[in-house]
Symmetry: C2
Subunit: 449 residues, 2 copies
Amino acid sequence: MEDKQYESLLQKIKTRQTLNTDVLDEVMHSADIVAVLDEDDITDEDLKWFFSANDKEFLADVLEDADDKLQSRVVHQLDYDDIIKIFSYMPKDEIADILGDLPIGQRKELLNMMKASDSRELRVLLGYRDDTAGGLMTTEYIALYQDLTMYQALAKIREIAPKTEVISTIFVLNRTRQLVGWADLRDILSADPGLTIEDITDSHVITVDPLMDQEEVAQVVRKYDLTALAVVNRRHSLLGVITADDIMDVMVDEQTEDILHMGGVSGQEEIGGPIGVSIKRRLPWLVVNLVTAFIAASAISLFEGVIEQVVALSSIMTIISGMGGNAGSQTLSVAIRGITLGEINLKEDWKLVFKEILLGMLDGALIGLITGIIVSLRYGNAYLGVVTIMAMIGNLIIAGIGGYLIPLILEKIGQDPALSSSIFLTTLTDTFGFFIFLGLAKLFLPLLV
Amino acid sequence: MEDKQYESLLQKIKTRQTLNTDVLDEVMHSADIVAVLDEDDITDEDLKWFFSANDKEFLADVLEDADDKLQSRVVHQLDYDDIIKIFSYMPKDEIADILGDLPIGQRKELLNMMKASDSRELRVLLGYRDDTAGGLMTTEYIALYQDLTMYQALAKIREIAPKTEVISTIFVLNRTRQLVGWADLRDILSADPGLTIEDITDSHVITVDPLMDQEEVAQVVRKYDLTALAVVNRRHSLLGVITADDIMDVMVDEQTEDILHMGGVSGQEEIGGPIGVSIKRRLPWLVVNLVTAFIAASAISLFEGVIEQVVALSSIMTIISGMGGNAGSQTLSVAIRGITLGEINLKEDWKLVFKEILLGMLDGALIGLITGIIVSLRYGNAYLGVVTIMAMIGNLIIAGIGGYLIPLILEKIGQDPALSSSIFLTTLTDTFGFFIFLGLAKLFLPLLV
């Protein structure tokens, strides 16, 4: 997209010039038009004009590419008649997503204004949670009866293809409308016209339940490299189809959620968003962190007498606790990756903790040795160095155990490991780090003073 | 997939029973067969037998679904003749990926054994780095000249479709083989037979350069919801096509890379992998962390005299530094998410740092107040509480500034913000946290003792 087109569109919207959408469609992708509409300069009034004055089929494409925020702004500005017209060009799963974000009263009014068959389909889709297979699926797909001849099949495909999202995968049903397999459009195009669909049906079809969580759905799609995944009920009737582009959106959602959670931010937060949201998403975790910081600090309080006699301990102890936190985070991130990809779970893989213990011993010995030598030289006391080495090894072993087991245990009890693992881990490595180092120092106190 | 089939396949491999692959194909997906081959029980000998004794077209599907590690094990076991036969059923981009991981001598020998046209195509693909558009693209796509009639087009599609990865998007070329647009198979199926491809061509086609980084490629595919993305050279000749399933693999790679990097692990590491790899990926960062831990600890050393007089400071200071680290991580994760999604950059959005400063003040005031009150009561000295509040506010402001600007600056100078941001941030919040708290304590020392 060139900047010229971008500026020109912005100008036209501001000066209320009706658009030649056929030409615009050729030079700008709807995703780029959305970027213009997302500009700060675009007021609600501009949006209202844009979505009322232009071609509805064109607007349907634009609205489909918009994010939730822009979609809800648009729908709040428009007359119901215009909304219904634009919806008539949009796939049902997108409409359901938009309706799902509306207040219940508005949603009902819009549903009542639609064709009975459309609103019935939408009510079914609206019955599923956004983050489940049912919430992701579209009802615009191609399904054919298995007894159709190739000729009949191709005629049917020509007829319904323009209204569907996926055409390369055709789902195959028996006459009681149960899913019996899938066919590849390639085969239909090149098959002997005398054959029926049944002859080219692959009965090995991957299906999911409408209630399956979207993260699991994404794993299934990725594992089998599917372009379309069938959602079926218990009697194996085809309810809808999930397409690859929706899965990519899920993957981005889950990814950003994991990144935010690992940083201690609950739920979605955008960097330019309102400060109130930021406080709401972050403050609770800071308060939880504060409690754990006090727990770690109280480990120090226990040994104030020791610190008073060897004040050098107060700076060395932060190295021990800090390195425990760092080493633990490394294990944690590898473990969370394994859990996210569905590669490890507590029951089968708990034994791998021994590898982390060994790693903690090796890394701890090396890092401890470096630290111990520097400490010995700096304070002129070799015993201080020995205490440092021992404490470092101990804390890095604990870090490895915690970094591996904490996320697996949280996963096992149904918690999101990305969200709360690091809090438990830091509490563990800080508290234990202070405790083991100052405890050892107290034990060897006569040698240190 | 049922466990029975899984067990039965494992059994058959172990007892060297040649498989009826037509039947197996119906009941097990190749991704599930890969899961069986990934079992610890499967030896190199088993793999060698499996990939020599069975139908090569079937084996090509299985090998395509295998991960890098299994692919390289298989290729190392097999005779070159068998490899070449299996390759003949695989898409070129997959073959190039496998060849790219082989030692150069082996790669050359295999290329020399292939058909000249195949090896020429593969040499071109091998010329691109794995993580670029050129490395991702396939050369199996449908491209048609714009002057073909619908009848000619359909005949051509029927002929080449079985060998291509994508069929719903058809790329359109002029007679000098430049890409002029794309056509939708739906339109070709339903168009008037008298029209030519040019009549239904959409000239607004999204293209990328073969050298574009895979993360950017993924952003383009997601933004425009593409099922196939065209890779072109400077004179707009079509070099290859990137498909949605390859983009999903990229997204998973980038996601897991970000998670590992944020935890301080450089490069890929699997939880069950060899301990040597773990040490190699983790130890360098631990050493870097150790240096920064010493920097923070030396801020404490400066004030050892103060701590000797008010030993309570030694436990409170860890709360100040720890909370700075926590608050900074929150800002950091929101910023990294924004950078990953391409939503923010240093030049345009540096002003948002003021929001983070404000957040630091507000959160700092509240968290500081709670901490200050507890400290005052615990040690019976209100001034100690006041020092705590001031230090907490100061450190949370610095945390907000650092958490926001450090990743943006690293991105700007071409570094991966997920990998090194947290090290700089922790150094900042630890060092500054100790410094401001102990510095203030020194200033108000007469009131504290």
